[in-house]
C-alpha cells in the first residue's frame, strides 16, 4: 500500500509542481495471472498492478528526470495480504558542472564488476576527466523476496570504480564493493574489467572478481571475439569460478573446488533474414568430473512479419545429461502479434530421475488504440510433477 501511495503522490506532485514543459509519462499494466504452486500443489490466482513513471524536461536544459517503477499484487486464491515491490524511484540529474557529473538519488539499480544490487541511496558519476571516469555509490541494500521487500536493518551496499578509456577502443576498470549484512561485513570484492580491439575484427575482453575476505579470485573470465568474415563471428572464452559465501554465513569456512569452463561459439549470418549459431563448451568440476555442452540454433525470417527461432542443446557428463529442443515463432498481423512455442527436454539426472519436460505456449498481443494494448498468454507443462500444469496471464496496458 505504501508503494501505491508513494507513486500516486509522486504522480500528483509531478502534475502540479512542474512547469508546463515538463513531460510526464505513466505506464500502467493491470494483470491477472494463474499458475501452479509446486509446494502447495494449488492453482494460485494473482492480480497485479504495475506502474512505471518517467518525468522529464523538468528543468530548461532537460537534465533533471525522475524515474519510478513498482508493483502491487494480491493473491486472490489465498488470504495473503496485498504485497508491494518498489523496484526503483530516483531522481536523475545529468551533466552537472559542465557535463562532468551525473547524480542519481533514491532507490535504484547499481551494477559494477565488484558488486551490484538495488540501493536506497546515491550514485555519483564523475566523467570527462580526460580519459578517466569515477563512480561512487552507496546506500541501504534493498532485498526482495518473490512478492515484497525484505530488507533487513543494517544491510548496506557501497561501491566505487575508476575507469580509463584508451586508444583502439580499449578500456580498463578497477572497482571495489562492500556489502553489509546486519552491520557486519558480508562481502568485500575487488573487480577488474578490460576490453580492447587491437586490430580490426579482433576484440579481447576480461573480467575478474577477487573476494577480499576469502582471499580468492571468485570469478575470472577471459574472452576473444573474432570477425574473420563480414558475416561470421567467432568467440572463445575461458571462465573459472570459486564459490564464495557471505562472511556472515557458516558456509564461508568450508573448502570448495574451482569450476572451469572453456567454450567456443560461432555465429554466421547467411543473410539479413537467416542466422545460424553453433557452440561447444567443456566444463571441469575438478577431481576428475567434467561435462560437455553442445548447442546449435537457427533464427529465420522467411517471410515478412514472421520470425522463427529453433535451438538444440545437448549436455553430457557430471550432474546429468540433457537433450533439449526449443522452438518458437512470432507473426505480426496489423495491430496484433501472435507468438507460440514449445520446449522439449529429455533429461537424466545423475543417480536420480530420468524423464522429459515439455512446455507448449501461445500468446497474443493486440493494440486496441495507440496507447492501449491487451496481452494474453497460456501455457501447458507436462513433466514428472504434472500431467498438465496450466498457467497464463491477461494484461491490460495503458500509456497515459
Amino acid at each position: 500500500m505504501k508503494l501505491k501511495l508513494s507513486l500516486l503522490f509522486l504522480a500528483l506532485l509531478c502534475y502540479t509542481s512542474f512547469s508546463n514543459a515538463t513531460e510526464v509519462t505513466l505506464k500502467s499494466s493491470t494483470q491477472y495471472l494463474w499458475y501452479e504452486d509446486i509446494l502447495t500443489q494449488d492453482t494460485e490466482k494473482d492480480i497485479a498492478e504495475y506502474l512505471k513513471l518517467n518525468v522529464s524536461k523538468i528543468d530548461k536544459e532537460g537534465k533533471l528526470n525522475i524515474y519510478g517503477y513498482g508493483r502491487v499484487s494480491k493473491q486472490l486464491s489465498s488470504g495473503e495480504d496485498v504485497e508491494g515491490k518498489l523496484y526503483y524511484l530516483y531522481l536523475d540529474y545529468k551533466g552537472l558542472f559542465n557535463d562532468r557529473l551525473d547524480l542519481r538519488l533514491g532507490r535504484q539499480f547499481v551494477y559494477l564488476s565488484a558488486v551490484s544490487g538495488v540501493i536506497d541511496g546515491a550514485n555519483v558519476e564523475l566523467k570527462k576527466l580526460g580519459p578517466v571516469g569515477i563512480t561512487v555509490f552507496g546506500g541501504r541494500n534493498v532485498q526482495f523476496d518473490s512478492k515484497k521487500e525484505v530488507t533487513g536493518s543494517g544491510d548496506y551496499l557501497f561501491g566505487s570504480a575508476i575507469y580509463l578509456n584508451l586508444p583502439k577502443n580499449s578500456r580498463v576498470e578497477l572497482s571495489y564493493g562492500v556489502k553489509y549484512d546486519d552491520n557486519d561485513i558480508a562481502r568485500e570484492t575487488i573487480g577488474f574489467d578490460f576490453s580492447t580491439s587491437p586490430v580490426k575484427g579482433v576484440s579481447l575482453y576480461g573480467n575478474t572478481k577477487y573476494d577480499v575476505i576469502s582471499e580468492a579470485t571468485s570469478e575470472l573470465l577471459f574472452g576473444v571475439k573474432l570477425q574473420p568474415l563480414d558475416r561470421l563471428t567467432l568467440k572463445g572464452e575461458y571462465y573459472e569460478s570459486y564459490p564464495t559465501f557471505d562472511a556472515t554465513s557458516v558456509y564461508s569456512v568450508f573448502a570448495v573446488d574451482k569450476y572451469k569452463e572453456k567454450l567456443i561459439e560461432a555465429e554466421y549470418r547467411l543473410s539479413d533474414n537467416y542466422l545460424i549459431t553453433a557452440g561447444y563448451g567443456r566444463e571441469d568440476f575438478d577431481e576428475g568430473k567434467n561435462a560437455n555442452l553442445y548447442e546449435a540454433g537457427l533464427s529465420a525470417k522467411p517471410i515478412k512479419n514472421l520470425a522463427l527461432n529453433i535451438k538444440y542443446e545437448k549436455r553430457t557428463g557430471y550432474a546429468g545429461s540433457l537433450s533439449g529442443l526449443r522452438l518458437n515463432g512470432e507473426y505480426k498481423i496489423a495491430k496484433a502479434s501472435i507468438a507460440a512455442g514449445l520446449d522439449y527436454d529429455d533429461f537424466r539426472r545423475e543417480e536420480s530421475r530420468a524423464s522429459t519436460a515439455k512446455k507448449y505456449w501461445l500468446g497474443v498481443n493486440y493494440d486496441v488504440r495507440k496507447n492501449i494494448s491487451v496481452a494474453a498468454r497460456v501455457e501447458d507443462n507436462e513433466n514428472y510433477n504434472y500431467n498438465h500444469s496450466y498457467q497464463g496471464m491477461v494484461a491490460l496496458n495503458v500509456n497515459f
Binding site: S29, I38, E125, K127, F245, N397
Partner: protein
Amino acid sequence: MKTLNYLTLALAMGIFLLLGITNTQAKTDHKEFKTAQLSECFECHKSSNVQPNHDSSFIKEHRILAEKSDSNCIECHDQSFCLDCHIGGGIEQDLKKSISSKGNYMPKTHRSDFISIHPIKAMDNPQNCYRCHEANFCESCHEKLPQKGTLKIKSHTPLGTYNQTYWNSEHAKEARRNLQSCSSCHPTADVCVQCHSAKTGGVNPHPKNWRSIKDNIRDKGNPDKTCKKCHLQY
C-alpha cells in the same frame, strides 16, 4: 603473492592512464539508434572497429558490458528492462516468458519446466544462479519440500546393511564442487557441524588458505554465526 598481483595491476593501470591521456575517443551517444535494426548497428560498428553486440549470445554476455561503470545501456533501456528479469517484474510483457511457481515472470533462459531440469542447468556455471537469486532463494523451496529428505543424491545414498543413511566418501567431493546446493537444504549447516565441529574433535573442513583468511572471517563477519558453531575459542 596475490597482493603483488594486484599491485602489478594497479601499476599497469597507471601506465595505461599516462598513455590514455594523450589519445582517447569520444563515446557515441546511442539514443538516436534506439529503434535501429541490428544490421544497421553492424555497419557502423564495423567501420569503427567495435565488435557488434546484442547478437545471439547476448543474454550470456551482456553482464560484461552492463557492469562497466560508464555502460550506455540506459540510453535505450530503462532500469525496468534489467529488473524485469533480475527481480521478476513484468510491465513489458514478453510472450516468451513463463511464470514461476512463486508468481513472477522468469527470464527466457529458464526454459522448459525449469523445476525439472534445474539440478542439471544449475551446474552449467553455478554462479549464474546467484546473479539474480540470493542463497536463501533455493532454501525457500527445498526447506519446504513435502518430500524433503527423499532427494536422490549420491552422497546421501543409504549404504548400511539395514539401509541406514550415513555420509559416504563421495560427500566431501560433492560438497566441494557445489557447496551452494548443500546450503539449499541445510541453510545453517547444522548437519555438517555434527561431524566437523572442533567441539567434538571433528574433521577439519577448512580450505587450504585457512590460516590466512580465518581472521578476516572472524573480524569482518559475524563469528557468532560462523566460528562459534564449532569452536569454543576462536
